[in-house]
Symmetry: C2
Subunit: 205 residues, 2 copies
DNA sequence: CCCTACATTGATCACCGGGTCAATAGGCCG
DNA sequence: CGGCCTATTGACCCGGTGATCAATGTAGGG
């Protein structure tokens, strides 16, 4: 019985990787200590040695999932663009990411809805909150002080806050669509609707 | 041991009601044969007598959840309105329903993400599909043959299909927002963005 | 009034999940 | 080399779950 063959702390990472693999392919419910251990080629007890409980393992897995989620939106290359172009770029980047990593997104939702308590939800909701905050500045810039008049609505129009929450709702909705059928997501269709709000770009001859 | 006290076929309904109550308050995982039986005041065996398996019970529960989901959108009172007004009304009705029944919506998502297999997904996706179909006609009417020009985008604009998928995505996104925090859903904000696409309503003095 | 059909019970089974733990194997430091 | 600390093992316990089943009670038809 037992001795360190990989004494390195990579063990935890290896376990997490195995858990991740199982969660992606067989669902969150399939992530059990025994199965993870088997997939990682170790003994079940080790799982509880490195993570104290199953919830510990799942929380660690969730952290892996959430890290790197927000990177693309704060990429410095965006700040050079004009507001509307930046917003368009951000949305497009997000939609593309959603389609590419739809399996991960699905897993994230599986985490969220797996239990009604706050164990996972607070983290995920915090992440969603940061999501909105990432979009707020651009949307406010785009809307201006009076809101987007859209050159069409009679009165005033859409404030920056409205636009931001709309954009986030749109992306979340697209997530679900991407999970159902990744191939059915057409970023151009969704973008067209948002960009229709843009005032005519000052004659570009 | 045992004899019919409620020989009526309401038994199945009573069991379903108990399961529904448990699912809403304690989550899908809490729906076990014993707990449901206890909540319904019957013996565990009865659950398997009326529904053959746990999956049978869950499928029946899902059916309960899906029925009545689409009623509001096909309400005949809508057909009298002008296209844009009808679209606005439909979206508003849906958003209100989402907020009111957010617990049910949450349960629906819990069903969807509870397992990667097709046991629940096909039904739910079919329901989503009908959802889109319910919005398609209005959106096509609103967009017209050339698409919504929005009076702002340079070229053409948004086709009816684009608009419909956008609207559905928006509503799905709002669902998630409603689950996180029902009080934070502002239908006006989301509607404002969509309605900004409407061409100026021909001077209404 | 019995007897058949059906609803109902509750005990019971096999199984699997999370979690614990004594035993042990390796590396490392003196 | 000898101890010591940590990683590791695998057997084990306990609780809960889905599912089965013989026994039993009730209703209703002849």
């Amino acid at each position: 019985m037992g001795g360190p063959k990989l004494p390195e702390q990579e063990r935890a990472d290896a376990i997490l990787a195995a858990a991740y693999r199982i969660a992606l392919t067989e669902g969150l419910d399939a992530v059990t200590a025994r199965r993870v251990a088997t997939a990682a080629g170790i003994s079940p007890g080790l799982v509880f040695f490195h993570f104290q409980s199953k919830d510990g393992l799942l929380q660690a897995l969730l952290d892996v999932l959430l890290n790197g989620t927000l990177d693309a939106l704060t990429h410095p290359s965006l700040s050079a663009l004009a507001p509307w172009d930046r917003l368009e770029r951000m949305i497009r980047v997000e939609l593309d990411r959603l389609v590419e990593y739809h399996a991960g997104v699905e897993l994230l939702f599986a985490f969220y809805f797996s239990r009604p308590d706050d164990l996972f939800r607070t983290r995920i909701e915090a992440s969603f909150g940061r999501y909105l905050e990432a979009f707020l500045p651009v949307c406010q810039e785009v809307a201006g002080p009076g809101g987007v008049s859209g050159a069409s609505t009679g009165v005033g129009g859409v404030s920056g806050d409205d636009l931001a929450s709309t954009v986030v709702a749109l992306i979340h909705g697209a997530s679900i669509q991407a999970i159902r059928n990744p191939a059915s997501v057409y970023p151009d269709a969704l973008l067209a609707t948002v960009l229709a709000l843009r005032p005519r770009p000052a004659e570009r001859p």
